[in-house]
Amino acid sequence: MFDAIVIGSGMSGGISAKELCERGLKVLVIERGRKIEHVTDYNDRQMPWELPNNNRIPEDEVKRDYPIQSQCYAVNAATKQFWVKDSEHPYTTPEGKPFSWIRGYHLGGRSIMWGRQSYRLSDIDFGANAKDGHGCDWPIRYEDIAPWYDHIEEFIGVAGSMEGLPQLPDGKFLPAWELNDGEKLFKASVEAKFPGRKVIVGRNANLSVAQPHHEALGRNSCQNRSICERGCSFGANHTSLSSSLPAAERTGNLTIVTDAIVHSLVQDPKTGKITSVRVIDAKTMQGRTYEAKIFFLNASAIASAQILLNSRNEANPNGLCNKSDQVGRNLMDHMYALTTAGAMPTYPSDSYYHGRRPTGIYIPRYRNVTEEASGYVRGYGFQGGVMRMGGKPRANDPGIGQDIKDKGRKFGPWLTFISGFGEMLPNPNNRVTQSETKKDKWGLPILHIDCAQGPNEAAMAKQILADGKAMVEAAGGFVISQASDAGPPGLGIHEMGTARMGRDPMTSVFNGHNQAHEAPNLFCTDGAAMASSGCQNPSLTYMALSARAADFAVKELKAGRL
C-alpha cells in the first residue's frame, strides 16, 4: 500500500512524484514503457559521423514502424529509441481526418525529447472561455497558479527575459540567451513597424547558468549543442530523468515500476474513492493491482482520458468520472507548421555567431490583445529564428568539384523563419473514443481519434501566414518559402483538453484543484485537464498545476478528508 500512485513519469508525472515525495508521501510511479537511464542511454556524445546511417532511420523501417512518429522533426537514428513504433501502438482516425499522435513510452516519457519552450498562460487565457463562450470557464485564474509557476521555473530552470507583457507574464528566470545580430535587427524592425508586437528570445528550460540547487541534482549549465532531444548528459535541460525524478528519489520515498501498462482504476462505489490501479505487465501480460490513498493521472492527455474510459463499470457505463460526458472530448493541439521563411539581403554579411543556442526567438500573441482580429477569436504566437545560411551545400544546385566546396565555404544571406502557433478552440466533437471491437496486443481497446481544425482555426491560419509575410517584409526581407496549411492536428505535440477542469460537475471532469468531481482522491494534472489551450507551449502549465494539486492533495490527506 502506497500513500500515492502517479500514473506516468513524463513532464507532469515527474513533478507530481517529486512534490508528493517531498511532502513525505510514499509514492509509486507507474510507467508503461521500459526503464532508461540518464546519461548512459543517450546518444549525445557521438560525433555526427559516428551515428548509424548518417543519423537516418532505414527507409523501410520508417514506413513500417514509424510512419506517424517520423513526421516529428526530432525523430532520427540518434533518438529512435525514444519514439513508439506506430506498428505496435495503433489507433484509428476517420478517413481524411488525420491526427498525428507523437509518443514516447519509456521512463521520463516525452520530457526527454520535449522542445523546452516554457511560457506562462495569463488571465487573457484563463478568462478566454468565459469571455467568448467556447468551452467551459476555467475554475482558476492567473493568481491561483502564479506562485506555482514561480516554484516550477525556479526548480526546472527557465532562461528568459523580463518583458512586462500582460499576455505573457514574466517569471523567475535564469539569464536570458542573447539574440544574434540578425535577430536584433529583425526585432528592431518588427517592433518599430508594429508597435503592439514584441520579438523576444525564446524562454526555455535549459540552464543558461546552473544554480546550486540544479548542481545538487547533478545538473550543469547548457553547452549550446542543441541536440537536446537525444537526452542531455550534462543534465542541462529539465527532464524527468535529469531533474524531477532524481529530486523525488533523494527523499527516499519514491518507488518506480516500469513496463506496467495501466488498464483501469478501481472505484469504491460507496465512497466514490479510487482504491487501486489495475496494470498489465507489458512483458508477461500478467495483470496485477496497486493500492494507494491518492492517485495522480499523468499519462498524457489522450492516455489519461483512455484510462478513465476503460475504467467503466456497471454504475459508470461511459467511463469513470464521466457523468459530464466530457471525458475524451475537447481534444486540442496548437496549430503548427505555419512557417514563413525569408531572406534578409540587407543584414550584415560580416557577422556570425558561435554555438547552437538551444532556443530561438518568440513573438508573443498580439491578436485580440494589442491588435484586432478579423473573423476569429483568440490568437497566436510565433517561434523562429534568424540565422546565417551556408555550410553543407545543396545537392540540387548544379555543379561539381571545386564549385561545391566553394559554395560550402561561403556564408550565405541571413534567413528569417517564423512559425505560428495558433490556439485551437475546445470543441466537444473533437474527441477520443475506444473501439468496441479492436484491441491492442495487451488487450486494451484501440483508440479512435476524431479531430479537425474548424473555421476559427482556418481564419487564424490565413492571418498567421499574412502576418509572417508582413513581418519578414517589414524587416527588409523577402519571402522565399511559405507553408500553405497548418500541419495535421497532433503534430504540434501539445494535445490537451480531454478531461477538462471546470466548476460544474455536469460540464467538466476535474475541479479547480485538479480533483475529480466524482472521485475525491483522484487528480489529473497533465494536458487532459486543460480547459483551453492558449497559444503558449503548455508543459510549464502542466508542471505548475501538478505542484499545486500535489500541495492541495497532501493537505487534504493530512486533514483526513481523502
Binding site: P48, W49, N53, N54, N55, R56, I57, P58, E59, D60, Y73, N76, W177, E178, N180, D181, Q223, N224, R225, S226, I227, A337, T339, T340, A341, P345, T346, S349, S351, Y352, Y353, G355, R356, R357, G360, G385, M389, G390, G391, K392, P393, A395, N396, P398, G399, I400, G401, I404, K405, K410, F411, G412, P413, L415, I480, S481, Q482, A483, S484, G487
Partner: protein
Amino acid sequence: MHDILNLDRRALLADIGLLIGATALPATALAKPAKGARHFLLAPQIALLGAVADTILPATDTPGALAAKVPARVDGLLAHWASASTRTNIVGALARIDAAAKAQTGKGFTALTSAERAAFLKPHDAAALKNVPPPPGAPKGNPFAPTTSVADQGYFTLKSLVIDLYYYSEVGSANELQYVHVPGKFQPSIKLTPQSRPELGTGPF
C-alpha cells in the same frame, strides 16, 4: 550584400530539410541485398561509385570524398538504410552515368582520366538536376523539408548522399566547415574573417 536575387528561391531552403528519398521507380528484386551482407554494391559498381564520388568531391586544397571514405559509406547506406526503390534509383543513376560516358567517349566512366570524368559529369549533373514538375500525387513539401523534383531523381539522391556523407565526416567537417561538438558558451556576435567557415549544423534547428 549578397547576390541572392539571382538564387532560385525554391531551391534556397533545400538544405534545411532532411533528405527526401526519391522513389520514382518501382522496386525490383535485383535491389534486395543478401541477408546480413555488409556490402550492397558489387565490386565494379563500387569502383564506379568511387569514381563518381571522387569527381563530385575531389581532393583539392582539401581532402575529397575518397579520403572521407564516402564510397564505402554510400554502400553501407544502400545495405542498411535504403529501401528497394531508393537502391534501384541510385544503381540506375550510376548505370546511366556509365552508359552515357560510353556513348559519348567510347569508354566507361571509370576508364576516363580525372579531367575527362569532370568534363563529362559537369553537363550530366546539370541536366540531371533540371527542375521538372512533380508527378501527380507527389508529397507536398514544407519550408523545412522541401520536395525536390528533378530530371534524374536517382542522381539527385546519389549526389545528396555523397555530399552529406562528406560534410558529416570527420575529414569533411574539419577541412571544409567548422564543427564543435560542445561549443560551451553561445557567442551571439562574431566578426567574420576570410578564414571563417560556416558551422556544420546537427539538425533542422
